[in-house]
Every structure is written in C-alpha cells, then in structure tokens.
C-alpha cells in the first residue's frame, strides 16, 4: 500500500466520526474507505470489502437507473467528480451486498489539494424515496 496523502487521511478520520454515509476514492479512483453509515447502505463492512479498484466498485453494487437500466461507470456521480473534477449529483438504485435493493441519492465532489494536486473524490450517500 502506498502512503495516503494527508488530506485523504484527514477526510477518512472526519468520515469515521460522521453520522452521514461517506465513500472516498483516491486519485487513481481506488476505493480508499467508506464509513459505518455507508456500510449500512452498501450492505457490507469496509473491513470485509477492503480497498478496490474503480472498475470493481463501479459495478460491485450493480447501479441502475429508475428504469432498471444498468449505469455505466462513467454515469456515476463519483466517477464524474473524479474524472471531470466537478461536483456531480444523481439518484440511482443499487443492489447492496446484503442483496437488498436500495434507492440512493448521491452528491460527489473532487478532492483538490494545494498546488493543484488531485487527491481523489468523495461521495455522500443518502437513502431516498423512489419517485
């Protein structure tokens, strides 16, 4: 494992104290951490999931739109925040790893450090009422 940037370390520490679901990826898009509220939504403990590459997390929870169509990784808010370095939002269905479908709202934002360092991205997850 490589040394994490201090900003990523600090946002993980912050996330570990928050009651809202937080999902963090590093600059390469690798899943770095999600907190306990996110574990409830995603249906799996982070300690069991561990770090994983973007191609894996982008499909692991089987994201679909409201019509039940699969969402490509490029359509996911976190992917957009990571690659386009802008805030992105969206509502989507996931199938959690406890096999429960959940409808969630996502707000994702890039992590930019001083010196124009791209550090990764963060998404905040909420369970939402289906429209």
């Amino acid at each position: 494992m490589s040394q994490k940037e201090i900003e990523v370390i600090l946002i993980r520490q912050l996330a570990s104290y928050l009651a809202m679901a937080v999902f963090i990826v590093d600059a390469e898009g690798n899943l770095a951490f999600y907190n306990e509220p996110a574990e409830r939504i995603l249906g799996h403990r982070f300690d069991e999931t561990g770090e994983m590459p973007a191609t894996e997390w982008a499909t692991a929870w089987t994201p679909t739109n409201e019509e039940g169509e699969s969402l490509a990784p490029e359509a996911l808010p976190l992917w957009i925040a990571l690659h386009d370095r802008r805030v992105a939002t969206g509502r989507l269905w996931i199938r959690a790893l406890d096999n429960v479908p959940r409808y969630i709202e996502v707000v994702a934002f890039p992590l930019l450090g001083q010196g124009d360092r791209h550090l990764g991205a963060v998404s905040l997850l909420w369970e939402a009422e289906p429209l």
Binding site: M1, S2, Q3, I6, I9, L10, L14, S16, Y17, G115
Partner: protein, 278 residues
C-alpha cells in the same frame, strides 16, 4: 552528517533556570554535511546563536521551514546570514491555498511586526515552495510531505549516502484516529520517516495532558513512541518541549518513555546536543 540542536522548545521561548538543561529556545536544527553543505531546519529563536557559528567561507545556505507558526520563524530577522550580501540563501517552505511563500513571510518580515522588510534583506535570497517532490542540496537528498498540523505544514527527510534524518517538530498523527496507529499507509508522515537513523519528533504533551489539547497539532509522548515504532526508526529525539515543562518534568517524561520501549534509542532533545548520522 552532523545534526545539532539549537532550539528544542515548542510554542514559545522558555528561558530561565528551570529550563536551562533542555533549553528555552524554539525550534532550530542545523544539518552539516561532510562536503560543507549547511541546512537549517526552522528559524525559531535558536537560529540566532547558530548564525554566529557559521564559517565566513560559506557561500550558500538553505533554510528549510516546516511551517510559518511564530515559534518556527521568530528568529528569522536575527539570523546574521540574511544580512550578508555575499551569501546565497535559499528558503524552502509551504505556501497556503491562498498565499505564496513570499506573501506569507512578508506578513512577519514587515512593519509593524518587524522593522526590516523581506525585500530589503541584503543576502541573495531565493524562495522555494514545498512540497515539490524530492530535491538535492549539496550531498543531501531532501524529501518533504504535508503532515497533520493546523495550517500547511511539512516534515522533511534528509538523506545522504551514509544515513537519513527525519524532522517532524510539529505533528499530531493520532488526531482523529480511534485506535492509533493504523497501518503506515494511513498514518500521517509514516513513509517519510520510515527506517531513518534519527527521527526528531514532536513530543509536547504527556499522556495526561493530551486530552485537553486534541487538535492543537502536537503529540503525546506515548503517540510519538508509537509513531517511531511504526516507522521503524533507529533513534528518536523527543522535541518541541512544552514551555510549561521544566527540566524535572522532562526528566520524568523521558524516563517514562525509556521504560516503555527498547525498540529504538531515545535521546531527549537538548539544546546544544549533536548527533552523527551515518
């Protein structure tokens, strides 16, 4: 390399009979190479005495600032080499997200805080912002990384062919960690300090004092020991002593630290102490 401690105190100078053994000057460390290269780590009040010992033949000096809190820059204006027009001085330090290093230094080196402006210093001055990747100064390879302390703060690793030193005067790697330490990859500064011969590290508080100072950017001695063990250093110098700790307090803290671990040598940060690294 020869590493000499010119100031070991944190936060505020603490002169007086009760601090005479460990010293009352704030952070300043000299690193001198076999080829004559001189690095100065931080410009606390200890830098004034250092300035008087440098050879007249010196033509270049590099000052590496970890951050711009007052106890790390207060000696700048009293550092004789900055007033020597024949000397090339390079100052390395962090910018902030909104101000470059020059602007940040000018806040102190300008009236009303100081009568001489940065631009009026007679030396041939060049500023460099860190972290900026690894760089070389004389025989030394220097690496830096942002670490856990309020405001932009870096730590340095200085390596020569014979050994390595890591300098972390202000560092709170345990901040927010529910069970410290986590793995090296998730611990602030760990890779920078990994395996060094000499680690100079913040040890401002006792275990009992730390809970009242969480988030102030400094370490309890116990956490410093854990960090040093995680980084697998060979020798630890507890540093940045709290101005409220007198020599007897520090004797007790160091004795307790030595009783805790034998994985590495513990040598307390004492003004005037010198170490041969490598």
């Amino acid at each position: 390399m020869t590493v000499t401690l010119w100031g070991t105190r944190g936060s505020l100078p603490a002169p007086g009979a009760e601090t005479a053994r460990y010293g009352g000057n704030t952070s300043c460390v000299e690193v001198r190479g076999r080829d004559g290269t001189v690095l100065v780590l931080d410009a606390g009040t200890g830098i004034r005495r250092l300035g008087k010992t440098l050879p007249n033949s010196l033509r270049r000096l590099d000052l590496l600032l970890t951050h711009l809190h007052m106890d790390h820059i207060q000696g700048l204006g009293f550092f004789a080499p900055l007033h020597n027009p024949d000397l090339e001085v390079h100052i390395w330090g962090p910018a902030s997200t909104t101000a470059n290093l020059r602007t940040r230094l000018m806040r102190y080196l300008s009236p009303p805080l100081f009568p001489v402006r940065l631009r009026d210093l007679p030396c041939r001055l060049t500023l460099h912002e860190v972290p900026c990747g690894d760089f070389s100064i004389g025989e030394f390879q220097v690496a830096s990384a942002l670490v856990c302390h309020p405001g932009p703060t870096v730590a340095y690793r200085i390596s020569s062919a014979r050994g390595a030193l890591a300098y972390f005067p202000d560092h709170e790697p345990a901040l927010g960690v529910q069970k410290f330490p986590m793995g090296c990859d998730w611990t602030s500064g760990c890779a920078l300090a990994a395996g060094v011969d000499l680690l100079i590290h913040d040890a401002q508080y006792s275990k009992e004092e730390y809970p009242q100072h969480i988030g102030w950017g400094h370490s309890a001695v116990d956490d410093t020991l854990r960090f040093a063990a995680l980084a697998e250093v060979k020798q630890l110098v507890p540093f940045h002593h709290d101005p409220a700790h007198n020599d007897d307090d520090l004797d007790r803290m160091i004795a307790a630290a030595r009783a805790t671990t034998r994985r590495f040598t513990i040598t307390p940060g004492t003004e005037g102490a010198a170490f041969e690294v490598g």
